[in-house]
């Protein structure tokens, strides 16, 4: 099949560039990245390999024996390693888990390949022969390299992958043929960021053309999701400690400044710990494990901002609100009643009725609920269990029902 219009042993650049052009035609949103790659002829690489500086090392023999349409798939595969920063992520993973040695790097290359290969091919792009997918390792599609790395080890079932070689751009381990950071045609950190940014912008701007995996990448490329615990903690801490929450000037005790102004009674700023009521959506779509972990987090954070355990109240709420109960014995002691549909408006009303009035209301919900039309007279933090979006929005009595998102006056944290 391969057209032999070049002598054996020299790189058939016409074929290589025809493959790149085909790749750019079927994946227009990757064109910038494909054209930014600099091909380097190399007899040391078995097939094609990239380095972190956006050079693509190409074996002439491999180009010779591979049809153009498969070469196009390899181009996209290699550029995906660079766009998804697999070398940087491999280095960070290796650093965090103290992994070293070529075997671990091979494992990272395999995991990175799994992340790419499960959704880039098809629709005009042929998967190159021997492309490894998650299914061949008995794993699920659609996960990230780091998730795959936790799920498999090298063994007899991966022996056929030992030849896998996508270069230092895929797993971060320098190769003997790499030209290094000072070699010709390398891209600097800023140039790499700029190319990745332009590709991401193109995908976000025209999301219709790109598969879900690329859209997710584009959305997260420059705004990596943060762990929800820290976000919830920061939101709660800011709400509970902001000026105006439970603090006022009192004359009951002299101020620290009084020493400087004898003869004057200055008020001192006193603060009582913030009272927090946690309204929990018990409509059944939120799992107990998730609720328990979120609730423990809320209790721990309110202790950290100076609250006592008895100042944290818990209010289970489905269509009707229960009673506010103090969170005394940890999350285990809380009975979470309910299980029907949700109306958090009753939960808000009941929380604000409780005496003493709460300074902060934390709502843990899956978001499938009507919200109060007006801003409640206290700070509000909403933790939304994001995973359940789309799955539980179906309502038997009213299939057309689309719940509104959390209102703008609340600080919203997506959990999970």
């Amino acid at each position: 099949m391969p057209a032999r219009d070049a002598p054996v042993g020299t790189l058939d650049t016409g074929k290589l560039y025809a493959a790149r052009l085909q790749a750019a035609r079927v994946r227009p949103y990757l064109a910038t990245a494909l054209f930014a790659l600099h091909p380097v002829e190399s007899r040391s690489v078995p097939t094609m390999a990239v380095d972190p500086y956006w050079r693509c090392y190409v074996s002439p023999g491999f180009v010779d024996r591979t049809p153009v349409e498969e070469l196009a798939g390899v181009w996209v595969h290699e550029v995906s390693h660079l766009l998804r920063d697999h070398h940087g992520r491999s280095d960070r993973y290796a650093h965090r888990h103290e992994l070293r040695g070529p075997a671990e790097r091979l494992r990272m290359n395999i995991a990175a390949d799994c992340e790419i290969n499960d959704d880039v091919f098809g629709d005009g792009l042929v998967a190159p022969g021997g492309a490894v997918g998650p299914a061949s390792l008995g794993l699920q599609d659609g996960e990230l390299m780091e998730d795959y790395l936790r799920q498999f080890r090298l063994g007899p079932h991966t022996a056929h992958l030992a030849w896998l070689e996508c270069g230092s751009g895929a797993d971060g381990l320098p190769r003997p043929w790499d030209l290094g950071p000072d070699g010709a045609h390398g891209l600097s950190t800023q140039e790499r960021d700029a190319v990745r940014f332009r590709v991401a912008q193109g995908i976000v701007g025209h999301p219709g053309n790109a598969p879900a995996g690329w859209r997710r990448w584009a959305e997260e490329a420059f705004h990596p999701p943060q762990p929800w615990r820290e976000l919830l903690g920061a939101a709660l801490r800011a709400a509970a400690s902001a000026p105006g929450t439970g603090e006022d000037y009192v004359y009951g005790r002299p101020a620290r400044r009084s020493a400087a102004v004898p003869g004057v009674v200055l008020p001192s700023l006193r603060r009582r710990p913030a009272r927090v009521v946690v309204v929990i959506d018990t409509s059944g779509s939120v799992s107990d494990a998730e609720l328990g972990s979120a609730l423990l987090e809320v209790a721990a954070i309110s202790r950290a901002v100076g609250g006592r355990r008895d100042l944290v109240g818990v209010l289970p709420c489905d269509a009707a609100a229960g009673q506010v109960r103090p969170l005394c014995g940890g999350a285990q002691g809380v009975e979470l009643l309910g299980g029907g549909g949700t109306d958090l408006r009753t939960g808000f009303a009941r929380a604000l009725e409780s005496r003493p009035r709460p300074d902060v209301v934390v709502v843990l919900t899956d978001g499938q609920t009507p919200w109060p039309s007006r801003r409640p007279p206290c700070r509000t933090v909403v933790g939304v269990f994001g995973r359940h979006h789309g799955r539980s929005s179906y309502d038997e009595s009213d299939p057309e029902y689309v719940p509104a998102g959390p209102p703008a006056w609340a600080r919203v944290v997506t959990i999970g």
């Binding site: 800023q190 400044r257 102004v261």
Partner: protein
């Protein structure tokens, strides 16, 4: 840790004449003569006997430029990775005395001033007395003020700091222009009991992420710390630098007015850099400084993204990249002497711009010049980049225009395009059959 300044010789011993590395052998032969502290002093001196090696350090360069530009800098970094050491080196380089104030252990009144009642408050008023470190700074007239642990300071203290950072006022005192302000904060993930920065305070800083390099730390502990050569401004390039910075910022914001002001919306972006007229002004200033110092794009990228945020910062840098591309009109005027960018994606962007320019004003001469440019590009680079511009250029032909001879140079591109077409058909057959 990426920087290190050798500590001063051990001076705390009671008998300084016996201290120092030279005293070590003497101490071992005559233990009675030297006190125990002298021996420990000798050991400490040996431990501190490290050398430095030059090594480029973009984050220190960025810090130096921002401090030279007299903008308040906020270093985000985990505790114990050498932020203070970096500041010490910076102070030495800029020849400024360093004043460190731990924000989290102070009260708001330490920054807004303590009321002191004089003879007759009714006529004289109540002055707000500044703390001693501020008085000393003002007396010195110059210095580097380092506000440490900013994110763990309570909101009321942060509010008081707002005035210090923005108006440079501590109580009744005004800090002289020679004082530069740098703050440090721990990121939210490591500051378990920290508060986040309020958006108005965050908007006044250049945010720099301070990270350590494991290799540098290992080498440093082995006795060789890096020494960065810090950027110096080129006095001859100042007008050019200002012109470039103005052109870049105004050009981008003219085309994308939505980027002028955008409050952080998501929970993840709170407490960080975000675009506003104030932070764009800072970005303009930093671009001019980076240009005058001939700093690398990596340094400029850290500074701009730390000022207006990642997204707008990257758009700004992309705009700068486009400004670097040759002007299509210049290329059309002299296709023979044209120099095209070497990188594939930039070369394609340039050729696309040339074709767009011809489309905007189609004339026979310009059309021919564009073909000559494409032929030149075919000689010097990959042919697949030419397919789209050449196809578009061909559609611009008028009936009375003859196809130029130079088009023969594009035969390679045509054959590449045909091969890609055939491969696409085969690929579609395969992928559809597979479904």
């Amino acid at each position: 840790m990426s920087t290190y300044t050798p500590l001063p010789e051990h001076t705390g011993t009671s008998a300084p004449s016996q201290a120092g590395p030279d005293a070590a052998p003497a101490a071992s032969t005559a233990p009675a003569a030297a006190s125990r502290l002298d021996v420990s002093g000798a050991l400490l001196a040996l431990l501190r006997d490290t050398t430095t090696a030059p090594r480029p350090d973009p984050q220190l360069e960025a810090l130096t430029l921002a401090v030279s530009a007299d903008l308040p800098v906020l270093l985000w970094g985990e505790p114990g990775i050498g932020k203070t050491a970096a500041l010490t080196q910076l102070a030495t380089t800029l020849d400024l005395p360093l004043t460190t104030v731990i924000a989290s252990v102070h009260e708001p009144s330490d920054f807004s001033g303590l009321p002191v009642i004089g003879e007759d408050p009714e006529t004289d008023g109540v002055p707000m007395a500044p703390p001693d470190w501020a008085v000393r700074l003002v007396r010195a007239g110059r210095g580097l003020l380092f506000l440490d642990e900013l994110s763990t300071a309570p909101p009321a203290v942060q509010a008081a700091l707002l005035r210090l950072v923005l108006e440079r006022r501590v109580g009744a005192l005004r800090l002289p222009p020679g004082v530069r302000i740098v703050a440090a904060a721990n990121p939210r993930s490591s500051a378990a009991d920290g508060w986040e920065l309020s958006p108005p305070l965050a908007n006044r800083f250049v945010h720099l992420k301070w990270v350590h390099d494991a290799d540098v730390v290992v080498r440093g502990l082995g006795g060789v710390w890096p020494r960065a050569t810090l950027p110096a401004l080129d006095a001859g390039r100042l007008p050019e630098a200002v012109a470039l910075a103005r052109r870049a910022v105004c050009g981008l914001l003219g085309a994308r007015p939505a980027l002028v002001h955008r409050l952080p919306s998501g929970e993840t972006q709170r407490g960080g850099a975000w675009p506003s007229p104030r932070s764009w002004d800072m970005a303009l200033c930093l671009t001019a400084f980076a240009t005058a110092a001939d700093a690398s794009r990596d340094v400029l990228s850290m500074l701009v993204r730390g000022t207006v945020g990642d997204g707008p910062g990257l758009e700004f840098l992309a705009y700068l990249d486009r400004m670097d591309l040759p002007d299509p009109e210049d290329l059309l005027a002299d296709p023979g002497g044209a120099v095209l960018p070497g990188r594939g994606d930039l070369r394609q962007a340039t050729l696309d711009a040339v074709v767009a320019a011809v489309r905007a004003r189609p004339e026979r001469g310009r059309w021919d010049a564009a073909w000559a440019l494409l032929a030149k590009a075919a000689e010097t680079g990959a042919p697949d980049l030419l397919v789209v511009p050449a196809t578009t250029l061909a559609t611009l032909r008028r009936d009375d225009w003859e196809v130029p001879v130079t088009i023969e140079g594009l035969a390679g591109a045509v054959s590449v395009s045909q091969r890609a077409d055939r491969a696409k058909v085969r690929a579609l057959t395969v992928t559809r059959a597979g479904r």
